[in-house]
């Protein structure tokens, strides 16, 4: 069966470009694209929620149904 990928939403209106989510993602899923965080490799995401937990700005949400 095909692996169902989580959904990572980055709310650019709130993102302040601090790099925290990118740096502390254990699977190197995220990157900075210009000012904002952005998804680089969704396939590798394990929905560990570290990025959502650490973002000081409520700017990243991970959903996995």
């Amino acid at each position: 069966m095909e692996k169902k990928l989580p959904k990572i939403e980055i709310i650019e209106k709130y993102c302040k470009g601090c790099h925290i989510c990118v740096e502390f993602c254990p699977k190197d899923v995220l990157e900075m694209k210009g000012f904002y965080a952005s998804v680089k490799n969704l396939e590798a995401c394990t929905s560990c929620m570290q990025c959502e937990l650490r973002c000081p700005d409520f700017a990243i949400k991970v959903t996995n149904e």
Partner: protein, 272 residues
């Protein structure tokens, strides 16, 4: 599953005023998760602060909130708790607000053991006003007012709270984000005055002056310096050099102020 912070946030307030990478946002999220875990009712929960970047926190949260005078959160909060003992009263603020101008209120709230929780965000500096040193700035560190290094030793907030009589004292860090809600929830559940110190970062006025190249470097320093109390038991004094203990540092049961005060009222009535 994404955590629903929105139900605890006042609509239309984001983005918040804190700088990129400021840990105050991480602490606020931890507080929200703690309140959610404990199923606190918004109308029965009051968040009270003084002045400073950290003290801006109550403005974002959808419950009863009070943004008061610099260093006076404990005084206002005591008033709320005395008038409405059924309320969950949570104080929030910075190291400057709580240990400099508000130091006196802080120690006496601890001494009284009144059933409230105080979350103190320690970023070692007066962030809001541009980086003057606070009583928590470590010796030798730089602030706008100590450009050649701070000659004073910094307060250990947790030890200060224990010494002053707080009956629950814990410490976490902005790096250890998933521990913050647990410490705060345990503190709120404790009957008596509980203090949760969160070691925080101010990249804007403290980090740059003290040669941290980035927010990430400040976060990694918090990661490296923290040692959980349990782990510390198995470490030598040498291994603990320069480390800071985290977790629940102190807990004791002692008579609580509101209950003791109620007894005074009963005695006064009986004396008539």
């Amino acid at each position: 599953m994404a955590f629903d912070y929105d139900k605890w946030l006042r609509p239309g307030k984001l983005p918040h005023i804190w700088c990129p990478g400021c840990g105050h946002g991480i602490v606020m999220k931890g507080l929200i998760r703690a309140m959610d875990t404990l199923k606190l009712k918004k109308e029965e929960t009051a968040i009270v602060s003084g002045i400073g970047c950290a003290s801006r926190l109550p403005g974002y949260i959808d419950c009863c909130t009070l943004h008061t005078a610099h260093g006076r959160a404990a005084a206002f909060a005591t008033g709320v708790k005395m008038a409405k003992p059924e309320m969950n009263v949570i104080l929030v603020g910075g190291d400057g607000d709580g240990t400099a101008i508000g130091g006196n209120h802080f120690i006496h709230a601890c001494r009284r053991n009144i059933n409230m929780t105080y979350i103190i965000m320690n970023n070692y500096i007066y962030g809001m006003t541009g980086g003057q040193f606070s009583p928590c700035t470590p010796t030798g560190h730089k602030a706008s007012t100590t450009p050649y290094g701070n000659p004073d030793p910094g307060f250990d907030i947790a030890k200060l709270a224990i010494g002053a009589g707080a009956t629950f004292v814990a410490r976490g860090t902005a790096f250890h984000a998933n521990q913050i809600d647990k410490l705060i929830a345990e503190a709120i559940q404790h009957k008596g005055f509980s203090v949760v110190e969160i070691l925080d970062d101010c990249p804007t006025t403290y980090g740059r002056r003290n040669k941290y190249k980035s927010v990430i470097e400040m976060m990694n320093r918090l990661k490296d310096v923290a040692v959980p109390v349990k782990a510390a038991e198995k470490m030598t004094a040498e291994q603990l050099q320069g480390k800071i203990l985290t977790g629940v540092l102190y807990k004791e049961e002692k008579p609580e102020y509101i209950e003791e005060y109620a007894k005074v009222i009963e005695r006064a009535k009986a004396a008539k």
